[in-house]
């Protein structure tokens, strides 16, 4: 049922000898909300600008509904962009800003009037038509930018980190609003962000990018629960990486030694060999914190406790010195729940909630990526 709207094949782009996009291929379906997610410098903005026509690929082709548009200038592409800092024309009123695209199409005056009003109503700014952009708040300017981009009824809307300049609360509201708009208009949205939370909550599919290559392409759930590699696992959400070693392979089951515990797991999709080292990934919310006299789990002690309202986040130091992040839902009836710092506990998880990844020559995150990931979490 889904049709391919835009496809990029073998796109490469270099800026001053630095490879920004590396033989990247991607197809975008009609009507989907797809997010390009990655740290700064991963090529996501360049990719978006290539769809809009502001950058030309060094090699590769861009096709829209089967037509090659690689060399088509931006003004002739039926796509519109919402820019990061809105890029509203400062010398025009809100009405004229929104009407600009229709005037370029030489539409009759009555039609322009009607469609601009309709677009402004859609973003709840009917009463602001006569204002100048500088008389509006950041959120209102954002809405004008969206109205200006959708008034031409593009086949696709490209959004370049449109919410990054807004404060947290407003960003939340706009996220919901954008989703609603996308549903109502039925337009394909390509959304660029470095905020993994935003990507997870809004998208139909997420493209995780790093160094100009796609790391993973999948639904938010796939990306979060079954990350394709160490980078994706670290960039999207918080993850505990436990060192594991294969001790037994038997049909579709394998046994893995984690912190001296022997866990019986289902075989991962990649090839495993006896005594192979691998990562056992567990999200903080998959971790169970147990009483010290419990028979299950690994011993450790609480070193950090963070009350988050609906959850209680803690960091547990294991005997070998490694740290485990745990996030538990509040349960006031559970007396054992409230551990204090320094208290001895045991750490475990429910079998089947873990995710296995092969070791990748053990590449630690560079400082920059660490920062980007931190940034994305806040």
């Amino acid at each position: 049922m889904t049709e391919t709207l835009l496809s990029l094949s073998d796109i490469s782009k270099q800026f001053d000898d630095k490879t920004v996009l590396d033989e990247l291929s991607l197809t975008i379906d009609d009507g989907e909300f797809i997010t390009l997610l990655g740290p700064s410098g991963c090529g996501k903005t360049t990719l978006l600008r290539m769809m809009a026509g502001f950058e030309l690929p060094d090699q590769g082709t861009v096709t829209l509904s089967g037509v090659d548009i690689t060399q088509t200038p931006p003004e002739n592409r039926p796509l519109n962009t919402v820019f990061q800092n809105y890029a509203l024309f400062p010398h025009m009123s809100v009405f004229d800003n929104v009407a600009y695209g229709l005037k370029m199409e030489k539409r009759p005056k009555a039609e322009i009037q009607e469609r601009v009003e309709e677009a402004l109503a859609m973003v709840q700014l009917e009463d602001f038509a006569k204002r100048k952009p500088h008389q509006l708040s950041g959120g209102q300017q954002q809405r004008v930018a969206i109205a200006r981009a959708v008034v031409k009824r593009p086949k696709m809307l490209l959004l370049d980190e449109p919410l990054s300049a807004l404060d947290y609360k407003l960003r939340r509201t706009m996220q919901v609003e954008l989703k609603r708009l996308q549903r109502e208009l039925g337009i394909t949205f390509v959304f660029v962000t470095h905020d993994q939370e935003e990507a997870l909550s809004m998208s139909d599919r997420i493209v995780v990018l790093k160094d100009g290559r796609i790391q993973q392409l999948g639904t938010p759930r796939e990306v979060y629960e079954r990350p394709a590699n160490v980078f994706t696992a670290r960039f999207v959400g918080q993850t505990n990486f436990f060192p594991g070693r294969v001790t037994k392979i038997e049909g579709e089951r394998i046994s893995v030694d984690v912190f001296g515990l022997n866990r019986d797991l289902s075989k991962p999709s990649f090839r495993v060999a006896m005594n192979q080292s691998l990562h056992v990934l567990l999200r903080p919310e998959d971790i169970r914190v147990l009483a010290p006299n419990d028979t299950e789990g690994v011993a450790g002690k609480i070193v950090e406790r963070n009350y988050k309202g609906s959850t209680l986040d803690s960091v547990i130091e294991l005997e070998d010195g490694s740290h485990v992040m745990a996030s538990e839902f509040f349960d006031e009836d559970d007396p054992a729940f409230d551990y204090s710092i320094g208290e001895r506990v045991r750490v475990s998880w429910v079998d089947g909630w873990e995710w296995l990844l092969a070791e990748e020559g053990d590449e630690p995150l560079t400082d920059e990526e660490e920062l980007a990931a931190d940034d994305a979490e806040h």
Binding site: A52, G53, F54, P73, P74, E75, N76, L79, N80, T81, F83, Q84, N85, A87, L88, F89, P90, H91, Y100, G101, M104, E105, K132, H134, R148, A149, K152
Partner: protein, 255 residues
């Protein structure tokens, strides 16, 4: 201490403005000699406007300033845009050359222009004046426009293109309106520079086209006539109006 600083300030303003005030007052003086008050009169204004050569020189100057400012604004704006938008060979040299023209002594510019015009066999008159004035106005316009462009949001032209505007339409509907205050400021700067230039004009003007600053200069050489006071007052009022106009444009664009 306070008394001292206040009187110092008063002295500074006195030295600055007393000559101007004297000029204005004596432009309405009925007496022929410049140092005693003979009652209020507009006779010097009258004789100024009856002086055909003077009025002609005024119109010549206005026309020259108008055209020189307009031509240099057009060329200057395009130069600034090129320097801002594109990367090309010799960009740094071009940029540096602008400053060379701006910093070099006027007399050097005047002599070299005169040499050039003679070499080309150009008759000295309106055209030579115009070329010379455009030359020395140009760097000021370029710098004014470049300053505005440096704060220009690069996404604006892209947004216009994205919405279906061709490069030309984008320039007409977005780029020029946004940098308009800088264009006007550059134009006004060029206009004033051209209006009161003496040094370069002395060298490159011919008998066929007399301009105001040179006319005044030759008048004063013979002896200070009260007509000059009247002319000075008129020019002062004119500059003040221009100054207020430019301030008004700038304050409006800042909104």
């Amino acid at each position: 201490m306070r008394w001292l600083s206040r009187s110092y300030l008063a002295l500074v303003y006195l030295l600055l403005y007393v000559p101007i005030v004297v000029l204005i007052v004596f432009s309405f003086n009925d007496s022929r000699t410049g140092y005693n008050w003979g009652g209020f009169s507009l006779r010097w204004y009258e004789s100024l406007f009856n002086n055909h050569a003077m009025v002609q020189a005024m119109w010549n100057s206005l026309w020259l300033a108008l055209t020189a400012a307009t031509v240099s604004t057009c060329i200057g704006a395009l130069t600034a845009l090129a320097l801002h938008r594109y990367r090309f060979r010799g960009k740094k040299v071009l940029n540096g050359m602008l400053f060379v023209v701006m910093m070099s002594p006027e007399i050097v510019l005047a002599i070299s222009l005169l040499g050039l015009f003679l070499l080309l066999g150009l008759k000295l008159g309106y055209v030579s004046l115009l070329l010379a004035h455009v030359t020395f106005c140009l760097p000021f316009v370029v710098i004014t426009v470049m300053a505005r462009l440096s704060g220009f949001d690069e996404r604006l032209p892209e947004a216009a293109r994205d919405l279906g505007a061709s490069d030309f339409t984008m320039t007409r509907t977005v780029l020029i309106p946004v940098i308009m205050p800088a264009l006007m400021a550059g134009w006004l700067l060029g206009f004033t520079l051209s209006m009161d230039d003496v040094v370069v004009s002395t060298f490159v003007s011919g008998p066929s086209y007399e301009i105001l600053p040179l006319r005044i200069y030759s008048m004063v050489r013979v002896g200070l006539k009260p007509e000059v006071n009247a002319l000075g007052t008129l020019l002062l009022v004119f500059s003040l109006v221009m100054l207020m106009l430019s301030q008004w444009i700038l304050s409006r664009s800042k909104q």
